[in-house]
């Protein structure tokens, strides 16, 4: 029961917040000002787009929703392509090559570790390379890659266990302190 009331309340809350935060300031208030600022009238377009989106609920005419949907998906993927290339590919490769160079004179340990980093990246990438059979040299190198992957999954495993325990701890803290009033 409490859960249902909560779901209802938070859905309602989401509605109110979106109203106050998007519809009112970005749409209704600006359309009201359209007398002094005629450019605001252009906002009728997204308004219509939004209404078209609601046709998704209709079985017969749900194609109407495709128009605004395709706009949103298009903007999303266009925006994603460039930014992901920059952050997840170029910046990563740049850091591997230049920020942590494989040879720093005088600092043999960091150099070794950076070499290890490059080797780990290359072998792990090779493990996910599907255009060649994992035989011979490629197979052996990819096997080294899987070891590095396993170490990273081990770290993730440790972290996830930690997360689950932390949640339990917070529950126990709550029970002991707030419920039973025991000072910790």
């Amino acid at each position: 029961m409490a859960e249902h009331i909560f779901v209802g309340t938070s859905a309602g809350y989401g509605f109110v917040v979106t109203y106050q935060n998007v519809f009112k300031p970005m749409l209704f208030d600006k359309l009201k000002d359209a007398g002094s600022e005629p450019m605001n009238l252009i906002l009728i377009i997204p308004l219509i787009g939004g209404i078209m989106l609601l046709f998704k609920l209709s079985r017969k005419n749900n194609w109407v929703a495709r128009y605004p949907l395709s706009f949103m998906v298009g903007v999303g993927s266009g925006m994603g392509i460039t930014n992901v290339i920059k952050s997840d590919v170029i910046s990563q490769v740049h850091a591997i090559i230049f920020k942590n160079p494989m040879w720093i004179s005088g600092d043999i340990w960091t150099s070794l570790f950076n070499i290890l980093y490059v080797v780990a990246v290359l072998t792990s990438l090779l493990y996910f390379f599907f255009s060649a059979e994992h035989k011979g040299a490629i197979g052996k190198t990819a096997r080294i890659g899987i070891w590095f992957l396993m170490i990273s999954f081990g770290a993730a495993f440790g972290f996830t266990v930690m997360a689950r325990i932390s949640l339990l701890i917070s529950r126990v803290q709550f029970l002991l302190e707030d419920f039973l009033g025991i000072s910790l």
């Binding site: 309340t9 809350y13 939004g50 298009g74 591997i96 990438l125 070891w147 266990v161 339990l168």
Partner: protein, 208 residues
Amino acid sequence: MKRTIPLIITFLSALVMIIIYFINPAHVQKFENGVFEWIRIIGAFALFLGLFNLLISHFIKVRRNGMNAVYSIALIVAFFAIVISGIFFDSENPDGTFQFMFNNIYRPLSSTMFSLLAFYVASAAFRAFRAKTKEASFLLVAAFIVMLGRVPIGTMIWGKIPVISNWIMAYPAAAAQSAIMIGAALGAISVSLKIMLGIERTYLGGEE
């Protein structure tokens, strides 16, 4: 018509966003922010979709099911109570009852389910996590070191444990994740390209 025009819209809007990326923001700032405002407005309507689905499914439950209808009625009443009070009466502050319920019902409820997972971790640790292969042994050893290295007791057992654990995170683990990140990014970019070029169109849904 029902498919071609949406595909053209997708292509053009994606292309414009890509071109804009390479143009000095001083020139296109107004245009760009306009687009983002549109997206936020249309996106807000998407919220209605979710709400309608939720409400309709519970209306149906009320009509069909005598026993559990009470729950659905409670949900619907709670929804409208908040919306009406939030928009028409108390538009200054939608919190009030909401904040109270949030702190006293929702916060405890949602933490409890996940905290039970700690027990599962323990029982799975005993019964399922086996060093069956060399790979799994690597995983478990790395996990031990990180689990000890992240908490104070690790230092007490052996001062070097946190050092090793930090090293694992900074070198082999980060490197392997970096490879995964590059692979995933290439995958994501290829999906975006396919969407843009109309090769991938599952998002449109439905038939012609």
